[in-house]
Symmetry: C2
Subunit: 716 residues, 2 copies
């Protein structure tokens, strides 16, 4: 069953990092523990090397007798944990490590007033498995205290350690450090947005351990440690106050949201991998982000590699105006995109999101159409061919690509400019793979999903052809002039997660490229020219959403568009960047002697270096992923449940349509199911009675299995 | 006169940073210098403390006799440079420091085959002025070599130092470090995307300096240093190859660009502050970014604070779906925006760029209009009132807000949906402040610019009122129904940098809020309700573009809109984020019992944490800026030149319209002037014969003065 982790936040819990090894981390940790000795402090040392000669926990216990102390993983060799673990053949897997620490912290929180977890070495020192400490500990979502470096050079190591913690998403309320002649704290305080508290240099170690302890206790007593207690208590109080206050979401106007119907505001304290850390009634609850944050998550939340990719481009360029300039991230990303789509396209046009990418695509398509048809056509009334239920964004031009629907019904300037086919869909229903919603035709059953996608498949081809041609003929006879075919290939997303029969889309593309068969009013063009161009909107389905080997889904359909668009997963799920790719013919149609002939479209941050750098890093990571999948046999079983009308699973996408009288975007049939998923740690959004769970491309198959089991148990 | 810095790139030049103090940086630097001893190496030590007892340069000279060596700033005290400088009362200003180093490197490059610059301490150690070293040295644009830390804890310090360098925009081709039992290099090599070269541990220091030198020379001879030469030579060759290759900008489709007319591709190697580092024929040329990268730059290129703000949100959240969720950066930015606009607005709607912010604004305005007018109106043909030459973005909805112009003339789906006023403008012409382009009225002259902006001004008010009312009456009688007034307040940007008479815009806003005076076909609404709502498009002019105290420019006009939009400078100039702010009435108009009543608009990355975090940091920095300005008397002199038709200067914007027969967006009259500016180190873009230079909000006034002098000298 899917595991959910809830942790109390009323017990302040801090991870203590050192700016370097040998900065007095344990002495400082003891100071923290000592400071809180009236609060029943708990001290956890997850990894201790050099044990039992060295034991930070024992030292702390000797100073703060009342503290609860614990050392979790002990190694004899006094070296880095990753080396000791290899030497002593006791390597601990990251998941086990995290599980064990969580468990211990949980036990501590039941009794303690404050919990300190002391790391080993510096921020980026490897832990047992070799994973960097800062990286592994971010999975807990605790705040950090950094022990600064007071030595010569300590300004640099402290600020760099601080920056490494920031890049890994830590809040760092406090830098604690020792005073020294170098006065390192002065510049550290100026550069880091963090409170710095100074301790005097501790006394040197006395050979007699009893005297040493006495010396240390007296040292701690001299340090006015109430400063620390006061500061951290205030911090913690404000931290909870801020989380509480955020619940009101004051001043925020949410997209696609009827504010009067909002029942719960999710206060997201942080997010790591597939999980949100959500604040709720004094607790932090981990929730699987089952909508992949509006289908954007490819590489998970709080991905340090992407954070670094963003930071490095920001530091090297900031933004660079786009026209007539080139910078390395833009150059390399452009080459990579052309290569990933097998050099079918020749140009990449950058913009900011799916809507703008599609507006650009349409401008490209219509211009190409005009150039292809070397004569005056009534271009101001050009229409597009689409599929019912398509969605391409919320700017007016993008809206006009869709048939009338709930999204555009109240928009004054919406005027759907096209003709849309009601298309056949495939699904898994009652254990059977079927293609259904075929106009005037019974559903057709297939043995396997791969049969439906087979490029050799021809069963319904003739039927589809006739259907398409007759409708197009009628429309052109009625006076419509089509400038482009616009498709979301394979899956229609926002329109209800409709998985279109690939044969239908393939046939549609083929037919519109044979204009003479259906467009009697437009002259046939000889040679390679076709009348209208084909746009794919891969904003949702592209960039590996539908499969480990599918940067573009064109291979699934076996046909290529003239223009395609990507966004969402392009940046791994971090920030906005969109691209529209075109064939050379499309690009050439804008060449000429005047600026007027050019594509006069652009946005301020076109091809911003940060976005390009993050996308480049993402594509690098995607390439090396081994892939994941929704378990086919579990899916099959799911589809047999009475409460389920259909299941679709492809790539990281799982769709479950519930059996219900009412359906559509405004339906709330799935309410209870969604609520139950939430209670079990899975956050999902629905499209009416269509519930979807979207994993990221890095979600482990075993987690996906757990979710399938959860769904089965909730709907059985 | 404006200074331009050009540096050769054919001589490889590296800044050597240490992961910490005491990592053997000088021994490693000597290895690098020794390795290249056949190439006439040059070694520069910008700052040496502990001199003359310590001298890294002297040590290197003793090892590599043939090297040219130089120590620039020497201090006696063996402490951090910032402390030594205070102690010895010899503080060096950052600009002077940079100037001196540049000069020395320049001299070295004339003779040397390779130049090494050794820093002091660690990456983030303060330099003489207290500025962090990594921060100051990025102003040179050289690549970095990092000397890794081989000691216990050195994995962490090395990786953190590496990350700090990345955040400051350095390319780091090489980490050089000593081998040790800890095998630090193994994890460092795995985590950092950089070549690691290992050296054996050096021999311990011999008391007899002559023997010590012999020992060291023999040590270096054993290290097979050709590995380093080979690697760095390859790197350098590839680096130049890559820059050369980028010139083709293969596959890039530039926005707003006729590719056939492109004469020069600017290869931007990096950018710092106001400057691009542009690669051109084997040289790196520094160019002032005089178009503020399409008007986005508020806080300069490569701003480390913004890089950190981006990195920390990326590390803490990645992206978080927007509806019904809140996260700290979104929460805090929302409060800050409402506060900066004096709580006139109640809600913030997030989107990605100016176009989308304006599409949202129009949807808001029309819905408000419908709610205000509680009866059936022909809402599908709602029109807007605007000003000729306005520009609001390139999506179809945003385009339809503008009158027909060169941008939209070839766009099939463009159908301008409004009525536009030809508005009076102010300018400085032949030394006089005038308001001109007043329909059927002579230009009016004013003593000072502040007279034109005076809120008490009433001279042309009656005239403007009549003009506006009569035109509106006529239009409504002709059957137009207006849903909104859409203005770029104060300045029309892309339409030609037209500075509209503020009195005209103020009067226009006032008139449209008195519907009964001019709209006989629409019923007057009693009480506080007005018929149409007013949108300000502050995407260009907002966020301090027009003045140090002007997050919004509404105070300049003395009237407030119902809805306003910001983007561009909102993120300091780093990445896309846009907001549309509305009054509570506007927000309330979307409330209801169904989702259908809501504003069903959104983009995947709505209110992405990275953007919100960067914007928040930017607003914090803007608040503390002391401001800058274009020198009023220099401006006045400029306006008297024969070649100049008009000058406008406001905030960071300077506009110079050249005297020319032809004008407009497609004109190329300014070509020579632009070329001359470029040759003198200032990159600008034009709007026809309108040349503008846009500083960032952090550009120093003295730099702006230099540019005014340059312009005067070029156009005299």
């Amino acid at each position: 069953m899917f595991r959910i982790h809830i942790r109390a936040i009323h017990v302040p819990t801090y991870v203590i990092f050192g700016a370097n090894t040998d900065v007095g981390k344990t002495i400082a940790s003891a100071a923290l523990t000592f400071a809180f000795k009236a609060n029943n402090p708990s001290f956890i040392k997850p990894v201790q090397t050099g044990y039992p000669v060295d034991s930070d926990a024992r030292f702390i216990k000797s100073i703060v007798g009342s503290a609860s102390i614990k050392t979790l993983f002990k190694y004899t060799d006094p070296v880095s944990p990753h080396l000791a673990a290899i030497q002593e053949s006791r390597i601990v897997d990251d998941d086990d490590f995290v599980g064990k620490v969580k468990e211990e912290v949980g036990l501590s929180q039941d009794q303690a007033g404050v919990v300190f977890i002391e790391t080993a070495g510096g921020v980026n020192s490897p832990t047992i498995s070799g994973t960097l400490q800062g990286e592994l500990y971010k999975r807990f979502g605790y705040d950090a205290i950094l022990i600064g470096d007071s030595k010569l050079g300590g300004i640099s190591t402290t600020i760099s350690a601080y920056e490494s913690l920031l890049l890994r998403g830590y809040k760092i309320p406090l830098i604690l450090m020792f005073d020294s002649n170098y006065k390192n704290h002065e510049i550290i305080e100026k550069e880091c947005k963090t409170k710095v508290i100074l301790l005097e240099q501790p006394p040197s170690k006395h050979q007699d351990s009893e005297i040493d302890i006495k010396n240390m206790v007296s040292y701690y007593q001299r340090q006015n440690l109430d400063r620390i207690v006061e500061f951290l208590n205030d911090y913690h109080k404000n931290r909870i106050h801020d989380l509480e206050e955020m619940k009101s979401a004051k001043g925020v106007w949410w997209p696609f949201t009827q504010h009067d119907l909002v029942k719960r505001v999710m206060v997201v304290d942080s997010a790591v991998g597939d999980k949100f850390f959500v604040y709720e009634n004094g607790k932090i609850k981990q929730l699987f982000d089952g909508c992949a944050s509006w289908w954007t998550q490819g590489l998970g939340h709080g991905n340090t590699k992407l954070a670094l990719a963003a930071g490095k481009a920001a530091g090297r360029y900031g933004h660079v105006i786009s026209p007539e300039t080139i910078h390395e991230p833009k150059h390399l990303l452009t080459q990579k995109l052309l290569e990933l789509t097998n050099n079918h396209f020749s140009r990449v046009f950058y913009s900011d999101n799916g809507s703008t990418a599609m507006e650009v695509a349409v401008k490209m398509a219509f211009n190409t159409f005009i150039k292809r048809n070397q004569e005056k056509l009534p271009t101001d009334s050009l229409k597009i061919i689409g599929i019912q239920g398509g969605y391409h964004g919320d700017t007016i031009g993008a809206m006009d690509l869709s048939d009338p629907n709930v999204f555009n019904s109240r928009v004054s300037w919406y005027t759907g400019k096209g003709m849309w086919f009601d298309a056949p869909v495939w699904e898994l229903s009652q254990g059977k793979h079927i293609v259904t919603n075929i106009p005037n035709h019974e559903p057709v059953q297939y043995d396997r999903l791969s049969d439906i996608f087979a490029e050799s498949r021809s069963d319904l081809k003739g039927y589809y052809r006739e259907l398409i041609i007759s409708r197009l003929k009628q429309a052109t006879e009625d006076g419509m002039v089509f400038g482009s075919l616009v498709l979301e290939p394979v899956v229609l997303g926002a329109g209800g997660m409709l998985f279109i029969d690939p044969l239908f889309q393939r046939t549609l593309v083929e037919v519109v490229r044979e204009p003479q068969t259906w467009n009697p009013k437009s002259p046939p063009i000889p040679g390679k020219l076709y009348l209208i161009s084909v746009i794919f909107d891969e904003i949702f389905v592209g960039m590996y959403r539908l499969g480990n080997n599918l940067p573009s889904v064109s291979p699934l359909l076996g046909v290529q568009p003239d223009i395609t668009s990507f966004a969402k997963c392009l940046t791994g799920g971090l920030l906005p960047l969109a691209v529209t790719l075109s064939t050379d013919e499309v690009f050439q149609s804008f060449r000429g002697n005047t600026k007027m002939d050019a594509l006069l479209h652009g946005h301020s941050y076109t091809a911003h270096p940060v976005g390009c750098s993050v996308a480049l890093e993402s594509l690098e990571i995607y390439k090396n992923l081994k892939g994941n999948e929704w378990n086919p046999s579990k899916i099959l079983q799911l589809s047999k449940l009475n409460k389920i009308k259909r299941v679709n699973a492809l790539g990281t996408v799982l769709v479950v349509e519930l059996t219900s009288a009412e359906s559509g975007y405004l339906s709330n049939a799935a309410g209870d199911f969604v609520k139950n998923l939430y209670e079990n740690g899975v956050f999902v959004r629905t499209l009416g009675n269509v519930v979807y769970i979207m994993a990221s491309q890095t979600t482990e198959t075993k987690v996906m299995d757990e979710m399938l089991d959860l769904i089965a148990s909730l709907l059985k």
